[in-house]
Amino acid sequence: MLSVNFILIACLAYVALLFAIAFVVDRRTRRKSMGWLHSPVIYTLSISVYCTSWTFYGAVGSAARNGLEFITIYLGPTLVFVGWWWLLRKLVRIGRAHRITSIADLISSRYGKSSSLAVMVTIIALIAITPYIALQLQSVTRSYQIIAGEANGLRTAFWVAAGMAVFAILFGTRNLDANERHHGVVAAIAVEGVVKLIALLAVGIYTTYWLSDGLADVFRDVKPEAIIGANGIYGARWVTLTFLSATAIVCLPRQFQVTVVENIEERHLSTASWLFPLYLLGMTIFIMPIALVGLKVMPATANPDFYVLNLPLSQNQNTLALLAFLGGFSSATSMVIVASIAVSTMVSNHIVMPIVLKLQAGRKAVSGDVRNLILISRRISIAVIPGLGFLYFWINGGSDALAAIGLIAFVGVAQFLPSLLGGIFWRGATRTGALAGLSVGFALWAYTLFLPSFGGDLILSQSVLAEGPWSIALLRPQALLGFHGWDPLVHAVIWSVGFNTLFFVVVSSFTQADDIERFQGALFVDVYRSAGGAPSSFSSEAAHSEDLFVLAQRILGAEPARKLFNEMARAQGTTSGLPHPTDTVIARLERELAGSIGAASAHAMVTRIAGRQTVGMTELIDIADEAQQQIETSRALAEKSAELEQAADQLRDANERLKRLDAEKDEFLSQVSHELRTPMTSIRSFSEILMGTPGITEEERQKFVSIIQEESVRLTRLLDEILDISRLESGTSPLVLEPIDLADAVSKAQDTVSGMVRTLGVTMRIDAVDPDLSVHANPDRLRQVIINLLSNAVKYNRSEDPEIVVRSSRNGKEVLIDVIDNGGGVSREDAGLVFEKFARGSSAGPIYGAGLGLPISRAIMRAMEGDLTIEFAPDGTSFFRLRLQMA
């Protein structure tokens, strides 16, 4: 025996570990860093919540009493998981597509969101599960008493129930997940799954290889009855138990919770399909040896249900006993936690919330209120379930009635099976059928199995059990209608599940499903077919053609809508008016609308108008997705159109430029022809005079010929200049640039114009040209430009006392050469014009040149990476500025 304190500390440490795991995982989930937690192994281990303390302790007890029969409890689930593709996959798919929160939610959703069905399923689950929870509390209490010798079982049970309630509230209602997923709880349950497997394997290996000499030794001298039981093994009970366990793995609320609701990814199911059977195999492989060794080693008075704990204790293997105790403890706690969460979700969603909302119907609800309300209701429900279990244990505690409760609960939840399977595989199943089947099954289960299990203590007295109510033998609970000689369990299953199925099928085939039910039925049965949740067809009498027409007008536009409706009306053979809203019409309309606003929105709208209330979470999310897509598409379109606008602007600019250039070219051509025309005209007229006038004097002839010659020279110069400027501007013959001395270039230019300067009496001053300043230029061309500027300044100077100043300065890497004269300069209006070809300043006075000098100079400067501009001094006078790059 271990010290009480030590065991308490071990238990508390273990529970603290569970809290820590759940806490850490919840936090990581919120940070979206699930990592390995998001793995199929965790999923599989969480399904191991199937193995409760009823398995951990009870299986050995069952093996000691009935031989291999206990294996059926694990064979059923094995078959279901091996065939996952056909049932579990569909359940998981439906669960995910419709955001199913519990088995009650699934059944009620399938049958048109029927609240009566939900309440019924919830009540059956509550009644079946409460004793089951009490059984867990009892096994923890008993094992605690065995290992610690503590007498007060009630107190232990209370603290276990309270502790698990706190855990379930803390981690089961941390947030209101729309999917009801609890990652922290799942991780903790997975750890418990590992603990109980290790504990059971450890005890098994110890008993087989320490207490005995291997498997062969365990089975030596064992009578066949010990293996196959007193009444034979492969009989009706074997089949029934296999069927029940296969049903339980799907229908137990806690199994539905971990398998369907907590499923993170559908593909995890494929791993679980073999890993979970393997886990069960591991859990059961040593059950038979432990039972056989226990029977040999332990005194006949010892309870076989606790061999797992008593065997190590009897050999003073305290550590192993503690491990075994923790294994049993973890089996019990995981069941209590998950069952509490699963059943409380049902109680809260289907019983408490509807009542509260109905009471509050008058008041105006704020969304936050409802949220808080749900949380409070959920928390209270979670606390109530272990509380009920504890109460049950308190009243019935210690009675052996509890031991059988595992199977009784299995039969109870098996009542869900017909409605569940019928719901997802048979479109014809109706709500009335499901209600009828469930009520009959529930009643028969209570009458033939649940109530008799109290041995005459609850409602059915002992005399009723033995002789039937009012002594009618045909109504004996365990031999209904004279159906006797059967095992009570088999009897109960045949009656309850059999009649449940019968009523379900028969009533379903005689009743009519309403619209929403048929609609939901199609969604569930054809869950693989419709990805977006849209059914292939549904009927509607309630849809109002007029409303549909208005809707179509809004979305398609008046004319297309009218055409569509006319066409549909013609197809129906209606001569006037709107078409009758049949399946075809509605489906067609939905398709047409889907083209404009997306399938989900179209479906939601048409459904809304057709008077159905099936716009669920899935549809809303689909609609949001579509809206998001449309927003993104329109954003992309906006970007594209902005780009196009920009491109169009650029094209427009380019076009403007081209037009301007074209105009300039025309202008230039007309200027050129005009300029050429003047000398040509005089050449022609003088040559005509020479040819056609007989009595012309030699002197006259001489004069005319010299005019012709002068004009030809002018013409040639003009053509040279035109060629020059076009060459410069097109850049066909680039100038050779070299470093040259600026002062030298300026003085050479000055020399060239000096004759003209003297003749016209102009004062010319060269200011501050840095003697060592060297620039990057072509010497001849630079001189040409300076000469041009100087001669312009001289020619166009109208001042009394003409003066020209040339000065230079530096601006970083640039050299500036200013040519300033006092001749009036250029007005600001003319500043842009003087560089136009053939243009002359308005104040130019007598014409000296063709007007190409400045354009050529500017072209030269630009070709030398410099520029020629007109600058204005602060006093309004203008001057020319040359820019050159320093060499």
Partner: protein, 85 residues
């Protein structure tokens, strides 16, 4: 297109095998077939029916393991690809 047809046929075969596995397992684990294991004697010191049950069980696990990936890969209905964290 021949490839696609072959893939389709292979997937169907795998699905057929998966349902066959469940049916064979059920038949083997239930009477009357299971009764055949009730013979006298011992197999390596163990009762034959125990060896039989666990052998079928292991075979089922192995079969499910072999079919799990191909079945999942051949799922044409598309997962409701919700990324859950």
């Amino acid at each position: 297109m021949i490839d696609r047809v072959q893939v389709q046929i292979r997937r169907r075969k795998i699905r057929d095998r998966s349902i066959a596995l469940v049916i064979v397992g059920t038949v083997l684990l239930l009477p009357p077939v299971a009764n055949l294991s009730l013979v006298g004697g011992w197999i390596a010191g163990l009762p034959p029916t125990l060896v039989y049950l666990f052998s079928v069980w292991i075979a089922l696990v192995a079969g499910a393991m072999a079919l799990a990936r191909p079945l999942e890969a051949g799922d044409e209905t598309g997962h409701s690809g919700e990324k859950e964290s």
